[in-house]
């Protein structure tokens, strides 16, 4: 019964023979693409098509409003030659590095302590939650008033953007440490310091790296917003400068650079997560 229908289904009497051959399911490459077996090929083709469409459409539009891929690429050598791109990039990265380093170290430390020790939690949770609930952007004018238009302002804004995802994730990571694992250490006569360093920190590590990954994204946003406000330095500052001068091609260079930076940062933390907590990886897979 099951082997039989093949013949009747593929050649119904009313259909001419030539037509039947054309309507046969696609073979080879096309079939594999439909089945989703050539993901990268499809992605590449899609991106290439988008760029082509952009190029074609962009060439017909006033360059003040929209640039196009080859023009954007063509603007890069000039920006490198004058050093404006490097200067903006270094200025941004410096603020990002300092602000993120501070956010990671302080966020992890406070998150660990608040998660583990109720007293620290009670001492700080109201202030932390209040600050967390406040939109960071609302603080920027105040921070500029306090810390000026220079690097310090930028660092503080980036710190605030990155700090909360880290402290919140670290805190819940510590809260999620299984009682059983702590008891394994207790049964071995471990001290509180040993439990903290040998059980709590490694068990919370996957949560901490998740917090860091979220913080990376927020910090890049914080960085650009800070630079847009101060408008004097970094990639955000360059956006304002080029925007005001209607140099849309250079503006796009900055925007694409920011996208690449964000992508690079989150991807590197993803790799770090896999390297630091491989056991969570298999838990996710299961």
């Amino acid at each position: 019964m099951t082997a039989q229908p093949d013949v009747t289904a593929s050649s119904p009497p009313s259909r001419p023979a030539g037509n039947a051959a054309r309507r046969r399911p696609p073979v080879g490459l096309l079939r594999d693409i439909r089945a989703g077996r050539h993901g990268n090929l499809v992605r590449f083709a899609s991106v290439a098509l988008t760029l082509l469409a952009w190029e074609w459409y962009g060439r017909g539009v006033d360059p003040v409003f929209l640039s196009y891929p080859t023009a954007i690429l063509g603007a890069v050598p000039a920006m490198l030659a004058t050093g404006e791109l490097q200067r903006a990039f270094v200025s941004s990265i410096l603020g990002l590095a300092i602000g993120l380093a501070a956010a990671i170290s302080l966020g992890t430390l406070l998150g660990l302590l608040m998660g583990r020790y109720r007293l620290v939690d009670q001492l700080l949770d109201v202030q932390i939650n209040a600050l967390y609930a406040t939109p960071n952007v609302a603080l920027i004018p105040l921070l500029i008033l306090w810390f000026g238009l220079g690097l310090l302002s930028k660092v503080v804004i980036i710190f605030l953007a990155g700090f909360f995802p880290i402290i919140v994730n670290t805190y819940s990571g510590v809260r999620n440490v299984s009682r059983g694992l702590v008891e394994v250490a207790l049964a071995e006569g471990a001290s509180e310091a040993q439990i903290f360093t040998k059980i709590v920190i490694p068990a919370a590590l996957p949560f901490i790296t998740t917090g860091v990954r979220l913080a990376m994204g927020r910090a890049v946003v914080g960085m650009v917003v800070a630079e847009l406000f101060t408008a004097v330095s970094g990639l955000g500052g360059a956006i304002i400068t080029y925007g005001n001068a209607f140099k849309t091609d250079k503006l796009f260079v900055i925007i694409i650079l920011l996208a690449l930076l964000g992508l690079f940062l989150t991807e590197s933390v993803r790799h770090l997560e896999r390297w630091l907590a491989p056991w969570k990886e298999t838990e996710r897979a299961n």
Partner: protein, 261 residues
Amino acid sequence: MLEIIALSKTYGGEGAAGAGEHVTHVLDAVSFNVARNQFVCLLGASGCGKTTLLRIAAGLTVPDGGEIQLEGRQVTGPGQDRSLVFQNYGLLPWRSVMGNVEFGLEMRGVRKAERRAISQKYIDRVGLTGYERHYPHQISGGMQQRTALARAFSKDPKVLLMDEPFAAVDMQTREMLQDELLKIWTSMQTTVLFVTHSIEEAIYLGDRVLVMGARPGRIKADIATELPRPRDEAAKSSPRFDELRRLVRDKLRHDEAPAAP
């Protein structure tokens, strides 16, 4: 050698006036002795206090009355003379087999070279040579148990305390793990207090089966299995095994009788 003396533990009602009715007598003056190198199984339904008793022996829980003495010394907290094997083994997922086995020694402050050497010895003894660098999620359930046993034995404990280590595994795996445990126990020669709620498991593993009843938790029967060792599948079909099974089941059922309507 291991003496449980009038051990009592209650939960609830602490301090609160008029809360007396809600007090649960988890353990009510439980007493028994365990001889050196004896394998004793604590059998009972959930809630009978068998795990609480084991936790007190491990030093993780403080009793309200009575005490436990190990070779004449009172147990007051966790110690190097006792090893606890947890439900699901309690392996640390971020540590390799070696890292897990040496964990106890590390907590004790043993130097790295020395604890490596000791751990390697026990890893070899339980047959995990070559798997030192594997992580718990990369090895089978049987190998995880052997890792847990190697960690437990690495302290050279006088008593091995096991808390329903096979509660979460399927029947076939369970029987395999039981045989593996017996083999390792035979080669190590140590005193074991083993908590379980499986009648067959208690009889198959133990020299003695202590049947516990609930509310209040106490020992209802102390049965010597008197099955020859080494034990295998044949032991389970022997007349003595059947007799023990009936006896133990009868003692357990006796406990439920008053609760039935």
